[in-house]
Symmetry: C2
Subunit: 293 residues, 2 copies
């Protein structure tokens, strides 16, 4: 490894843009690529570093290549083919995918990388845009222990917690567990808050009273007050949640995992999309209960 | 008020037994009544104080009368009729009902007490048997502000948080919000954990990684590890949860509150009862997912 590691970051969305900035600020010589070029231009103007005209070119001579794009298909687009990162990466370097994607994709990439003596980690994150900006994301990793330890100093530039869960795919599967827990939790919280509103309770007092007890949750602490004010124009969008739940259901079919309320909540998210569009925060589930049918 | 207040405590179950002991230990001259006399004998042997042969006799000359029994019918049994507490209570004293019961019962008792110039608080608790034993329950009160403030020093002998939410019935309605939030939360957590188990994940590592983030909850911190070990022989029993949800559904009919997943979870609890009996902790929902149909 050189004194200054050269890294590539592919995908400058709401998450990737600040994550790549943390790498550059932590002393990694960072080259970025983004499908919409103007974002990459803006990133270089703000943070220095370099930009490349293809994923392959960004990856050339990089010790680590990070990907943070939308979904399985987007990952394949920037990894494979003549302009994909694998064409540029050298043996001994490491590919790290931060996209929330399927465990099958992780296994597929792990296999391809292995054949080229490239390390691979599936490494989806949680903590949202605020976590990416403040550098305190949680990263759930799947892959080889040596590759993980070798990658930690780079990952720590934007995470407060970074854990190797198990073999390739385990990061994605852990993120799925996370999303399943959140779905039921938000709907339960929504039903409780709407019941309380219709009963004429002072919800601020109710939340102060119950939030430290057995009903308490991160969602209650961080979303209940905006939910009671019908404020949903921020946070983690419903369409991303439905994309993640789609991955969950594919995987659940494979393992036979029963998900009765998670499936019901997905149907409710579909209704939110139909009535109010795709961009509202996941806490917007409560809006359906105002006029439920 | 006398230098030493005289109080009565009706109902020495898993909650009432230690709650009454905290009152006696805090300097309240406590007289207990319990339907099964042996419990009252045991309580006096352990804690001093007195026992009475009827709710009415316990209530005579008491400044405060506390009730902590099973359900609406049990409350009516100890309040009304010739041997009920109302026959013994004097004007200016206060009746406090810790039973998780309907808001209608609270309003009915509030009205009856008001006619006799007796103060009334509906005051269901959360925190479970451990909270009752350690004296750190949360108490959600409905009633008159002056009565509430007058009662605080007694209530503080077994609570760490005691809040007046609003008029009579508000304590019960707040407890219902609490139970609704818990129902969806536990089922979401169950589906997440079972999905993770079937995917072969190390659930201890998964929980360490996700429990501080957006999926985090009291239930994840305090129940997930026993859930993964199929340990449910403790805590808050399924039959009590179903009793509470029954109250929730009655109230929801009155206000038109939609509770789609809460209703689904109640059906799942019913299955737990049919397959495994009534006494398991509410976290036993996950046991259904092992062999789901």
């Amino acid at each position: 490894m050189n004194a200054v590691s050269k890294v590539a970051f592919i995908g400058l969305g709401a998450m990737g843009f600040p994550m790549a900035a943390h790498l550059q600020r932590s002393g990694f010589d960072t080259t970025v690529y983004n499908r919409t070029t103007s974002k990459a231009t803006e990133w270089v103007a703000q943070h220095g570093g370099s930009m490349a005209s293809s994923p392959r070119k960004a990856a050339i001579n990089s010790d680590y290549v990070f990907i943070c794009v939308g979904a399985d298909r987007d990952v394949r687009d920037v990894v494979n083919g003549p302009s994909g990162v694998l064409e540029g990466m050298r043996a001994g370097s490491v590919l790290i995918d931060h996209t929330t994607a399927s465990a099958d994709l992780a296994r597929e990439l792990g296999q391809i990388c292995s054949e080229k003596s490239i390390g691979f980690l599936d490494a989806p994150v949680s903590g949202g845009q605020a976590g990416a900006e403040n550098g305190n994301l949680t990263i759930m990793c799947g892959g080889d222990a040596a590759v993980f330890h070798n990658s930690r100093s780079a990952l720590q530039s934007y995470s407060q917690q970074c854990t190797l869960i198990g073999p390739t795919g385990s990061g994605q599967l852990t993120k799925m567990v996370n999303q399943i827990c959140i779905a039921g939790l938000i709907q339960g919280l929504s039903e409780g808050l709407e019941f309380g509103r219709r009963s004429g309770l002072d919800l601020e007092l109710v939340l102060e009273t119950i939030s430290k007890g057995a009903a308490g949750s991160w969602q209650m602490e961080n979303r209940a007050r905006t939910m009671t004010k019908d404020e949903f124009d921020f946070g983690f969008a419903v369409d991303w949640m439905r994309k993640d739940l789609g991955i969950v259901f594919s995987e659940a079919t494979r393992t036979g995992s029963p998900l009765p309320i998670t499936k019901m909540v997905d149907e409710l998210y579909k209704k939110v999309q139909q009535r109010q569009g795709n961009r509202l925060d996941t806490s917007s589930l409560i809006s359906l209960l105002r006029n439920y049918d």
